[in-house]
């Protein structure tokens, strides 16, 4: 009750934020933080109401992949006089059903963009990944935001992500008054997040490509939540690579993780992974093996310079914080 009264009092100063993908890791953590912040009014759009939402948060049950849903979303935007959209309804791991993932990632984003174009939106923040650059032999050691997105179009997961980037780029060109922030995060790891990387590192034996040892970087889950907050609070138009501090060779990371690493020649690894992928034993398709072969580091200098964001955790710390929890999980001391 008191929250509602406060809302009415401070309506003029409140920034109204629409959040999608609130059941994802970043979405849920960002929602918790923003809900406790008196400066913001949080409006959640999702197909499932998360149980942790507090009283002041408004919830609209909308499936953003449905046809003609863009007008419904635009209606919500107008009704709530929305300032900022944080679009996080994306998959954190590839799935078998590529048509479903295409609907969610590309069509969902398209609907959000259509609705955002219909009103004078102040800010549009979207999450992407540095995997869109692709692992290629001709990559420079550090990929900047201007580098072309060359991920193998054979990977449905990344093809969708690249298409989303193109949609958002067109939107930002058409709407110069809207601050469009694209946060390309490198591999996220941490004690609580779950994605295909955490399942890769929690398997008892890990496949690596024989004779190849690319450099890797991880960003800690806390850093990634922080950077979304920074993007919500300030106006930073453009694309930003979000990376952790420092890099390490993949072999060193495997040694630090204490996992049994099996070096496998690339062709053999490809057939093993494709068999495991079709047998539902692995969460990544075989095309992802290129990411274990070539270096695909992203350069976080732009985020540091413009957003003043610098990760607190190094790549090594991030892996160790994840592995520490993982060991407790294996002993069934934490969930």
């Amino acid at each position: 009750m008191s929250a509602k009264k406060n809302d009415k009092k401070n309506t003029n100063h409140l920034t109204k934020i629409v959040l999608t993908g609130v059941n994802s890791f970043i979405g849920s953590n960002l929602a918790r933080r923003l809900a406790n912040d008196p400066r913001y009014q949080l409006i959640v759009i999702d197909i499932r109401k998360p149980d942790f939402l507090e009283k002041g948060v408004k919830f609209y049950k909308v499936d953003i992949t449905e046809p003609m849903v863009d007008s419904v979303i635009a209606g919500i935007f107008r009704k709530e006089a929305v300032d900022t959209v944080v679009h996080l309804a994306f998959l954190s791991s590839p799935i078998k059903d590529t048509s479903l993932s295409h609907e969610l990632e590309v069509i969902g984003t398209l609907n959000m963009i259509h609705a955002s174009s219909a009103i004078k939106l102040k800010k549009f923040i979207i999450k992407s990944t540095t995997m869109v650059y692709g692992a290629d032999a001709t990559n420079p050691n550090f990929l900047t935001e201007n580098h072309p997105l060359r991920a193998d179009p054979g990977m449905a997961y990344l093809r969708d992500k690249i298409e989303v980037e193109h949609i958002v780029k067109r939107f930002s060109e058409k709407n110069p008054n809207t601050v469009v922030t694209v946060l390309r995060a490198c591999s996220i790891l941490g004690p609580t997040i779950k994605n295909f990387l955490t399942s890769y590192f929690s398997s008892p034996a890990i496949i690596r490509i024989l004779g190849f040892d690319p450099l890797f970087q991880f960003v800690h889950e806390e850093d990634i939540i922080d950077v979304f907050r920074v993007a919500v609070e300030g106006d930073y138009a453009g694309i930003f690579n979000i990376v952790g501090r420092g890099v390490l060779p993949f072999s060193t990371l495997l040694k630090l993780s204490g996992k049994l690493a099996i070096p496998v020649p690339y062709p053999l690894a490809y057939s093993i992974v494709s068999m495991m992928w079709s047998g539902n034993l692995l969460s990544v398709p075989p095309t992802f093996l290129n990411f274990l072969k070539y270096t695909w580091l992203a350069d976080g200098a732009k985020a540091k310079k413009i957003m003043k964001f610098e990760a607190r955790y190094t790549t090594k710390d991030t892996l160790e914080s994840f592995m520490g929890t993982q060991r407790l999980r294996e002993l069934r001391l934490v969930e």
């Binding site: 050691n141 190849f212 060779p249 040694k255 070539y294």
Partner: protein, 398 residues
């Protein structure tokens, strides 16, 4: 009297004789029965009577006094001996018993403890620790942004020092042309089938230069992404040849080596040795212009004879992922042995730096200027090569 004495003596003598028999171990109990029981005397008297009948004259010789004295001495001796032996055997027996107990106890505890220690060596935790330690051999947990591993490099350095000092006996000329601080772009001729000349330039600056600077070599793609070589190159500080990478390194005031001859240089035939190939498209000049890094021409002499390529098999190279397979008088005929470079005498000459400070970003688009500058650097290196070659008398002994 005499008779009785003799009997006693004989009995004692007999028992001393018996004593000798008893002296063998494990008879302590038997000895005690003889000493303590009065019974044997009676038995001996009967024996004596028999002896007296057979040998009477033997005892008649000794006088009674002498016999008494002798008997007393013997008796004392016997008593002493038997007492000593008894005590000794008693203590020995108890010792043996104790020892036996100890041994069994110790054996059990030792073997249990040993087993425990043995098993503890194989406990999962210990094994994990040991494996982790073994795995982290020559691996640093911190590398620089291009992957240079200081621990691995320190382990690999003696091998390169050996090649540098003993195999090729490298001599450096003009090392002071390398600045002690700040960026510089080293431009060198390239040769040798296996791009080992870059490693020798790096070693020479590490060993000979007063500042002992680390130089980053830019490596062609085909070598950079060769299985195993890839990992080794990254850890020892090599970087994939690309404008972005080189710019980033020079912006951080590092020394960078480029080989503008590239693949054409490595695959140079023996008949073309020390004839510089085309210097790419002048990318390195643009790089130096953008970063204002001085260009230092480097001439490596000796490397071009170390791996005399007489032919190139393109289709064989494709099989192993290389652009070609070099054919020398020894390779691939002698197998891996043929790939060992010849121990020629090497010279590395560093020329005077060519300043690039007065060029600005607008000059990067001036293709004619870039071509001219590139040709200038190429001529400089060619002249340096000719200078060193003129002074050299022998390929193998300098």
């Amino acid at each position: 009297m005499a008779k009785g004495n003799v009997t006693a003596l004989s009995a004692k003598a007999k028992s001393t004789q018996n004593m000798k028999e008893f002296a063998a171990p494990d008879t302590a109990i038997a000895l005690r029965t003889i000493k303590l029981s009065p019974q044997p005397k009676k038995v001996n008297i009967i024996n004596l009577k028999k002896q007296k009948k057979t040998k009477p004259e033997r005892y008649a010789v000794a006088t009674s006094r002498e016999l008494t004295a002798l008997m007393k001495v013997i008796e004392d001796k016997f008593d002493e001996l038997s007492r000593n032996y008894d005590e000794k055997f008693k203590s020995l027996l108890s010792d043996i018993k104790k020892e036996k107990k100890n041994i069994t106890q110790n054996f059990v505890s030792d073997s249990l403890g040993g087993l425990k220690g043995f098993i503890s060596q194989f406990s999962t935790q210990k094994i994990k620790e040991q494996l982790a330690n073994a795995a982290m051999w020559a691996t640093s947990t911190e590398v620089d942004e291009f992957g240079l591993d200081p621990v691995f490099t320190a382990k690999a350095r003696p091998f390169f020092d050996l090649l540098y000092n003993k195999w090729w006996r490298v001599e450096t000329i003009g090392i002071n042309n390398i600045p002690a601080t700040g960026r510089a772009l080293l431009v060198s001729n390239h040769s040798g089938g296996i791009p080992i000349d870059g490693a020798m330039i790096v070693t020479s600056i590490l060993n000979e230069h007063p500042a002992s600077r680390i130089t980053r070599a830019l490596v062609e793609d085909f070598a950079y992404y060769m299985p195993f070589i890839n990992s080794f190159l990254i850890k020892t500080g090599s970087v994939r040849a690309s404008q972005e990478n080189a710019e980033r390194l020079l912006e951080k005031d590092q020394l960078v080596i480029v080989f503008p001859e590239g693949l054409k240089g490595i695959g140079k035939l023996f008949k073309d040795r020390y004839k510089l190939q085309r210097f790419g498209r002048g990318g390195y000049i643009k790089l130096a212009m953008r970063t204002h890094a001085p260009i230092i021409p480097v001439a490596v002499v000796g490397a071009e004879e170390a791996f005399p390529i007489i032919g190139r098999a393109d289709w064989l190279g494709k099989l192993v992922g290389a652009p070609y397979l070099p054919i020398t008088p020894f390779f691939p005929w002698l197998g891996p042995m043929g790939a060992i470079p010849l121990p020629t005498k090497w010279y590395i000459k560093y020329g005077e730096p060519i300043e690039m400070k007065h060029y600005g970003p607008e000059d990067v688009d001036d293709d004619i200027l870039i071509n001219r500058l590139s040709e200038h650097v190429r001529t400089q290196i060619q002249n340096m090569l000719i200078d060193v070659l003129k002074q050299r008398k022998s390929i193998f002994f300098g």
